[in-house]
């Protein structure tokens, strides 16, 4: 086993062997989840706090389930509704939390870098559940696991990421992870939704689906995040669907066995056609959700091991 992190703040700081360590363990947890006894005890006795400064249903539920299956005491704090409005700073929130002695802290925040800031101030392992437009590491890990299970490998694949890349933390984490594992990555987006300087990331850029999807093994669609947009990045939903929405015709440019992915929640008829999303031969969207729990179990298990080791070392010194 090789996993040296104290926190999981992003893919940027993970080495390829650490990524594989998480995925291997997640594979085992995926089997556990499919059995009758879904319980492990890796987090027994530990306290996990989920702090979501931004509304979330799916990610929060996934982290909660992952923690409970491994025996942690899980508490959810809906921060969007409380302390932010009372003017409490992030640092004060961190100090308050320290007093509760959590072991695992799962944080989502609307500002890029906010989770890093929090991690500096608390005495526990922090997992980034999405910070602004920066990173969403567990999403990239669950996507990687899904790809590996469907394709049998996680290298030398042609992978297209399509849609609102500029505003997407999912895209950033995926580009980093899939790049580290030596895949060929193409970004497909209207130029207004393509981040600046992306050419230097070692990816290929396309502004048409036909060209971008040609010969692809994996087609990763992104949600068109309407709520994030300052103004009009695209002329209309229907023009976007016509040019960038994934339908059978556009998908035919990809390889015959290409898989279709989406981090959810989907806008059917905006970025993806309903029949494609439901096509069990192409779509792995349901499996992504399933792997989400497994990956989060694995990540928290590994972080907890390192946390316990750190504490034991500290105890031995004292």
């Amino acid at each position: 086993m090789s996993f040296r992190q104290n926190h999981l703040l992003g893919i940027e700081t993970l080495a390829p062997d650490e990524i594989l360590t998480i995925l291997d363990l997640a594979d085992r947890y995926a089997e556990l989840e499919r059995g009758d006894n879904k319980h492990g005890n890796a987090l027994k006795g530990l306290t996990q706090i989920n702090m979501f400064f931004e509304a979330s249903t799916r990610t929060q539920a996934s982290f909660e389930l992952a923690g409970k299956r491994l025996g942690a005491d899980v508490m959810n704090m809906a921060m969007a509704a409380s302390s932010l409005k009372k003017g409490e700073t992030l640092i004060d929130t961190a100090l308050t939390l320290n007093a509760m002695h959590p072991d695992l802290l799962v944080v989502r925040h609307p500002h890029s870098g906010a989770v890093n800031l929090l991690a500096e101030k608390v005495n526990c392992a922090v997992l980034n559940a999405g910070d602004g437009k920066h990173e969403h590491p567990t999403q990239a890990l669950l996507d990687a696991l899904t790809i590996r299970r469907a394709k049998g490998r996680l290298h030398r694949l042609n992978i297209a990421i399509c849609g609102d890349i500029a505003h997407s933390r999912v895209a950033r984490s995926n580009i980093l992870l899939l790049g580290k594992m030596e895949n060929r990555i193409r970004l497909i987006a209207p130029p207004t939704l393509m981040p600046a300087g992306v050419r230097e990331w070692g990816v290929e850029m396309y502004d048409d689906m036909q060209g971008g999807l040609a010969g692809c093994d994996v087609v990763m669609m992104l949600r068109l995040q309407k709520e994030r947009m300052d103004g009009a990045f695209i002329p209309s939903e229907r023009e976007y669907y016509h040019r960038f929405g994934l339908d059978a015709e556009k998908l035919s440019a990809a390889k015959d066995d290409a898989i279709v992915m989406h981090p959810g929640p989907m806008n059917r008829g905006v970025e993806i056609d309903g029949t494609i999303a439901d096509d069990i031969n192409r779509s792995v969207i349901q499996e992504q959700v399933e792997m989400g729990v497994a990956v989060r179990m694995a990540a928290m298990d590994l972080l907890a091991q390192n946390l316990r080791a750190r504490r034991a070392e500290k105890g031995a010194l004292a």
């Binding site: 940027e12 890029s112 870098g113 890093n116 602004g132 950033r172 600046a196 992306v198």
Partner: protein, 427 residues
């Protein structure tokens, strides 16, 4: 008291020389100077041991928290910090709370400054009432009350018609306008410069082109009105051709840059370090290098610290939400000396941008070693290395991007009007 400096490297930005020699101060003025040794005598004789004697720094665009934010910086703390940093004249910004936009506030500031600070403090006044960009301030009264220039700080005057009227009026008074060239819409909400770094970190970004757009508009209006204009905070290579054209066309134009944009780049922000959040944001390395070249050839005239004190609370926030600005009075000289040690700028060249040019442009005393000039002088060792500890700064606020940085150059003593206002302990 008369002071004779002997055995000093005289840094003369006007002549472009740095000869070993002596300098005599009498009645607050430079009375005589020469090379080599001297038979002159004085009440106090300082053997400089070949340290540098130069005109004190004239730092334009300093933010002091009075009125409104005295917990961040007062005239007293800024004055002490300036003296320790070799800044003998401070020109303050008008972006206080409330802004300095009436002769009455200006007078309050001048009086407070005189009482509390050992260095010269001269105020700029706002160009528009409340810095709101709608109506011009009483430029004439403010000028009479002692305003050395006019500007709304980092708020861009959006309405070109208002700006053109301000310029026409200021021209008739012979007043200097300080602009912050930036397209206000493109740069709205931006925390970093657009590019690979901004996209990787997921931070709201502005293209360097926004600066050029703002500059081009301002220069067109300068051409139209003939006003004296200082383009403050030029930071990108994209702006330089426009600047060069306008200077060659003979506009009454100077340009300035902050020391941070000459010594740091966007990657210094690293893992969301908010002490590196300044306005305009730190740029690409290519821009930084281009700005040093522009400084060398005289396209950029003035280096300032853009001293902007912020308390810990306003910086200990996620990057997007954190306040902009860095303190700089005490780091201006050692940071600028990086350009001497690292980029080969001569000391007279540096002091032209740090002392002579700002003094001339803002028509304030100082900046010169000529006989008859005021004796605003600093004695410094340009080579001595140190590691900066932000808590050792005299400013009330400690938000410096140079915390822990290895720097060279230590101020040994500062003089204003021939009076010693700072002397470093021998330790």
């Amino acid at each position: 008291m008369n002071i004779l400096f002997k055995n000093a490297r005289l840094i003369d930005p006007e002549a472009g020389t740095e000869d070993l020699g002596w300098l005599l101060v009498k009645d607050g003025k430079i009375a005589a100077r020469g090379t080599g040794d001297t038979t002159q005598n004085a009440e106090r004789i300082i053997d400089c041991a070949e340290a540098c004697l130069a005109p004190g720094l004239v730092d334009i665009g300093v933010k002091i928290g009075e009125p409104g934010e005295r917990h961040k910086e007062s005239f007293r703390s800024a004055g002490v910090a300036a003296a320790a940093g070799g800044v003998t004249t401070i020109v303050t910004r008008a972006d206080t709370t409330p802004p300095i936009d009436t002769p009455e506030t200006l007078e309050f500031v001048r009086r407070r400054a005189q009482d509390a600070s050992p260095v010269r403090i001269l105020p700029m006044a706002a160009l528009t009432k409340g810095r709101e960009g709608r109506e011009m301030t009483e430029l004439g009264f403010l000028l009479d009350a002692g305003a050395v220039a006019f500007g709304d700080g980092d708020l861009v005057l959006r309405d070109s018609k208002v700006l053109s009227r301000c310029m026409v009026y200021a021209r008739s008074l012979g007043a200097l306008i300080v602009g912050h060239p930036q397209d206000p819409i493109l740069s709205e909400g931006a925390a970093v410069t657009s590019g690979k770094f901004a996209s990787l970190k997921g931070l709201p970004a502005v293209s360097p082109m926004a600066e050029r757009m703002g500059l081009e508009r301002d220069l067109a209006l300068v051409e139209m009105t003939g006003v004296a204009y200082h383009a403050d905070q030029i930071s990108t290579a994209k702006s330089l051709p426009a600047l060069r054209r306008a200077k060659e066309a003979g506009l009454n134009l100077t340009a300035g840059i902050s020391i941070h944009h000459l010594t740091l780049n966007e990657f210094d922000v690293g893992d969301y370090r908010t002490f590196f959040k300044v306005k305009p944001p730190l740029r690409a390395e290519e821009d930084r290098v281009a700005m040093i070249e522009a400084l060398r050839e005289g396209l950029i005239d003035i280096i300032c610290s853009m001293h902007t004190p912020q308390d810990e609370e306003s910086k200990r926030l996620p990057y997007e939400a954190a306040a902009s600005g860095a303190v700089g009075l005490e780091t201006l000289l050692p940071a600028a000396l990086r350009l001497h040690h690292g980029a080969g700028l001569t000391l007279p060249d540096l002091f032209r941008a740090l002392s002579l040019n700002p003094a001339r442009r803002f028509k304030v005393p100082g900046g010169s070693l000529a006989e008859g000039a005021v004796a605003d002088l600093i004695l410094f060792d340009p080579n001595r290395p140190f590691i900066l500890d932000r808590f050792a700064l005299h400013s009330k606020s400690k938000n410096t991007p140079f915390d822990g940085a290895r720097l060279q150059g230590i101020v040994l003593a500062s003089f204003v009007n021939g009076q010693c206002i700072y002397e470093r302990n021998a330790s």
